[in-house]
Symmetry: C2
Subunit: 341 residues, 2 copies
DNA sequence: CTGAAAGCGCTAACAA
DNA sequence: TTGTTAGCGCTTTCAG
């Protein structure tokens, strides 16, 4: 089975291959009859347009690169799901990369994407990103770049994020309004600004409600279920008084819940708990976990739309970049129903 | 900023572009000094190899297509995670498609992949797949094709699956050994063979333990949390006697658990429950959900390895295809600890 | 060890 | 409405 090209179709019909090309691309200046004939023989011969050749010639690949930390984190796979769906409807394919939270792999990923001559790049950066040069290269080459969730805001590129500050504020305020007063916040040691924003929201919410900020109530580490457990152990063993915990993320919050249960501490009567991210398990566990929803599907769609708009504009970095901030959604479940009075 | 090609590097160094090309590809017949000079100026000029051009010329894209139903299902995103990681280590990129369980989109996806001249295709088919022609085209074109989890076994292509029959058998036998006797099985109406296999395992396990098969205890529908709830409602309202439920999949099992709890039916004392898939929430819910683990990470890695082996062979469909079957893992948790005696 | 030259399959400007 | 022609940027064979 040898390869069928437009030349084969042309020979078959005694016309030139450029007519064939035009017919296949529905060029307006081609008669209906030739178009039909061409399409029929194309089908008969099992012709498949070689996208590589057309990309090389036209300078457009109809492929966009998507680089995320890991598809094993449901937040990212969910957003990528949304991005792929929308981009696909608009005729684009997704070239996928995972940085695995490694800066080196992230750089390598971008390089491959650049070498592959993708039409644009969508990224959510690694947790420890500290060097922007590769991203500056994308921009200086005038290739469309859009960030989602984890953005480099100092760069002149559009982004779709949720308002982490507000999320942190909402979570904390909700706990306060539910009647909790000594509220612990578990945050991250690593660089990513999203976590710093949630912390800032936490602090401001306390201030707004005249609750003094207490440094002992802020714990830092690397997010994970086990870290959540450790935090509770640490707090109780040190005899710190607290009546609620706002964890930066749901798995950590789940660790908190499990450890509190293990130590027979009642949720929400003795300690209220709220997480962040609205993972699938939150509504299924007992007590169900209050959390902040990040609107993953909407984020995927908005990212794709913003990116498509950028593709159509042409001059990508002339004007101030559009930064879309989605509202976090407070999901109140059983774990923060308020303390026993 | 204009594009830099090997020609620019050549001019800069007063050598021909073919020498530059060889130097960049570490061709053995190029002197160390030229290689170094070339690489240095390449870097200085900001050269990036145009993969599209090399793909067109060499006939190799170093891209593999991956087509899955949906990344929003953690099973698939987890396997894709594994596939991407391994393939990436071997210099391949992933072109990603989602069929959204639609045959039409699946066909379109394969076509785009074919047009994109990927070096091979990895697929997990849509739930209602009924026509194999597009897959036959892949094989007839001698393009490497590998299935995972959901395979078309009648085709002469390799696959990595788990033994669904054994999974169904194990789940059922576990319930029997835990002391349950009137075991309900919830299965799917749709075509996919995996579910039929689980059902077969269920039936054979009953037979092996001399428990008569009772058609009233097999419920059919479309998997979902709500369907799980409906099943319990249906069984109790019809007054069917049962003391355990084996659901084809974890979300359905979760619906079962929620509805049993809502009706004050004790788990596992009055009714034991087991699911299938080992979703993240299973260990976090109360009672924790027994299930069958499908070894998603291993499946991703094995799929990638099998695929890579295929790529190296060259003659892809001469010999009988290698079909790897992974062992399902029984995960016993609280939901099936045995009935109250 | 390096150069010359052909061509992968298509797009698109220019001609007719 | 169709044909002619010139590449896109690289790989690769054949010469030297």
């Amino acid at each position: 089975m040898k390869k069928v090209t437009i030349l084969d179709i042309a020979k078959e019909l005694n016309i030139t291959f450029s007519t064939v090309a035009r017919a296949l691309n529905d060029h307006p200046a081609i008669s209906k009859s030739t178009k039909e004939a061409v399409k029929k023989t194309a089908e008969r011969l099992g012709y498949r347009k070689n996208k590589i050749a057309s990309s090389l010639r036209s300078g457009k690949s109809n492929i966009v690169g998507v680089l995320v930390p890991s598809l094993d984190v449901s937040f990212f796979s969910s957003v990528v799901h949304g991005i792929e769906s929308v981009m696909n409807q608009h005729g684009y394919s997704i070239l996928l990369y995972q940085s695995q939270e490694s800066n080196r792999k992230e750089d390598k990923g971008i390089e491959t994407l650049l070498n592959s001559r993708v039409d644009g790049i969508i990224v959510s950066i690694a947790i420890n990103r500290d060097d922007n040069t590769i991203f500056e290269e994308i921009i200086s080459k005038n290739i469309p770049l859009t960030f989602f969730d984890r953005a480099l805001h100092e760069l002149n590129a559009p982004s779709v994020t949720i308002d982490d500050y507000r999320g942190g504020y909402m979570a904390t305020e909700h706990l306060i309004q539910a009647g909790y007063r000594r509220i612990v916040h578990i945050t991250e040691t690593r660089k990513l600004s999203n976590f710093k924003e949630r912390l800032r929201g936490y602090m401001d919410a306390l201030k707004a409600h005249n609750i003094p900020f207490n440094e002992d109530l802020v714990l830092k580490g690397n997010l994970s279920l086990d870290f959540g457990k450790d935090c509770v152990k640490d707090l109780t063993s040190r005899g710190v008084l607290f009546d609620a915990i706002f964890a930066l993320e749901d798995f950590t919050a789940m660790g908190v819940i499990q450890q509190l249960k293990a130590q027979q501490i009642k949720i929400p009567e003795e300690v209220g708990v709220i997480g962040f991210a609205n993972e699938a398990f939150g509504s299924l566990v007992t007590p169900s976990l209050s959390t902040i929803d990040q609107q993953t599907h909407l984020m995927g769609q908005e990212t794709a739309k913003l990116f498509l708009a950028m593709l159509q504009e042409g001059s990508f970095y002339k004007t101030a970049p559009k930064k879309i901030t989605l509202d976090p959604l407070l999901i109140i479940r059983a774990s923060s129903k308020g303390p026993k009075l």
